[in-house]
Symmetry: C2
Subunit: 233 residues, 2 copies
DNA sequence: CGGCGAGTTGAACGTAATCAATTGTCGTGG
DNA sequence: CCACGACAATTGATTACGTTCAACTCGCCG
């Protein structure tokens, strides 16, 4: 069972809908688990056997074609919920982009618990609605934005979400951060190739909008201009 | 108020979660409304004031950039739910693609009712999860599929969803149907231009996979081959 | 120091976009 | 009923953006 009392995401994850003794009951159903970078938690097409909360780290949700093309359809950060509750097979795989820690439940146990806790379901519904909005924004990016707009949008998005995931109450976003993915994964998320990602990053660097101290780090030097590029004015 | 007893979608819409007197109570909050083709029910960015069930017709959810590019991020059919419950502004506009009829609620009235009816919320959650899965599949299309794969996927999808929306218990899909949108809207949904849509349809016609009796009709002559193209083997 | 994987850079290519002209369809009024 | 105009769709020619293929660089660990 999980020790919810000391969980770092207990106030932000869906668990925050519960009163202490409900939380204790849920905790009994879950267990904390480490997932190392590259490890796959759920395979695309498999029956949905588990759901989880992300405690730390970043994971991707991805879909593949038979001939090997991949599209990342979601990225989850600490306090986000993973999985497909209430039956069905998982239409996407879940793989750790960084070493991560999750609080994992069997789907059936979680489903049963959720059915009897409307507040939990309500939180889950709100999260799912938010996730849907985010997915739709990303559809705009994939369908209509140019390569440079896509890269700029991604950098803003990661900066924002890492800022929100961090516990700092003041920073709504980060101006320096570590990319939780490599170039290939950026391409899979943006619908671009690795080469195009690289070229666009170089262009932003040469325009002095960002710096790239090393291959995983980004410094946003001119957020205003980056946002202008991202929103495709 | 709406006359739920005779509503054609009462067994498929989220209302099916309710027992008769609950249904009557919800019916008092809603009213049926006609929406004619092209009419916009909700504007992108506006505060989310209403939600609704689709009774008949087809509507689009769409997002635009400042410079006028548009991406359709969802298409709703009879029995589907429209809107963004529980606060927030609507991140997309809702516009009728065909003449339509909806059962409309003010958001606050619906939210209040939903809070006290966990079964309704549960149905809504399931629908939202399904919608999210569909959005993610579409992200794969937008990010990684070629023009011909996109067109084939769209035709299959419309065939399936019109089949499911129709009341025929035997037809899982239709082999002849009316497109609920014009070429421009197909492009906005697929992330393509109008010209590319037209060319790809012509190619499918010349390959004798489909027929195009008139500009709004499609006959699928060889569904197997169409599916092969769609799934990007 | 050597070798490997990730990333960058370059050159050629190809798919879909853009620009432009034509055809087709529908609704209206003569 | 047909002629007309407006708009939707198709078709063609050209362009451009991102992909593909290929060579090279960098950083890291043995």
């Amino acid at each position: 069972m999980s020790d919810c009392d000391t969980c770092v995401v207990r106030n932000r994850a869906i668990c925050s809908a519960l009163v202490p003794d409900e939380l204790a009951a849920l905790g009994k159903l879950g267990r904390k688990q480490m997932v190392s970078r590259g490890q796959t938690l759920v395979w695309e097409g498999d029956e949905s056997l588990v759901v989880a909360n992300v405690i730390q780290g970043v994971l991707k949700l991805s879909v593949s074609t038979q001939d090997g093309r991949e599209q990342i359809v979601g990225v989850v950060f600490p306090s986000d919920f993973i999985g497909r509750p209430f039956g069905k097979e998982s239409p996407y795989g879940v793989t750790a982009l960084t070493d991560a820690e999750v609080c994992i439940f069997t789907r059936t146990a979680f489903d049963g618990f959720a059915k009897e806790h409307p507040d939990l379901q309500h939180k889950l519904l709100q999260r799912t609605l938010d996730e849907l909005d985010r997915a739709r924004q990303w559809m705009m990016l994939l369908g209509r934005k140019t390569a440079s707009e896509r890269i700029a949008t991604l950098l803003i998005e990661i900066s924002d979400r890492l800022g929100a995931a961090g516990c700092s109450p003041i920073a709504p976003f980060l101006e320096k951060f570590e990319l939780p993915m490599d170039r290939q994964q950026m391409g899979d998320l943006l619908g671009l190739t690795i080469e195009t990602v690289s070229r666009q990053l170089t262009k932003l660097k040469e325009a002095e909008i960002i710096e790239l101290p090393d291959r995983r780090s980004v410094v946003i030097k001119d957020r205003r201009r980056l946002e202008n590029i991202a929103t495709a004015a």
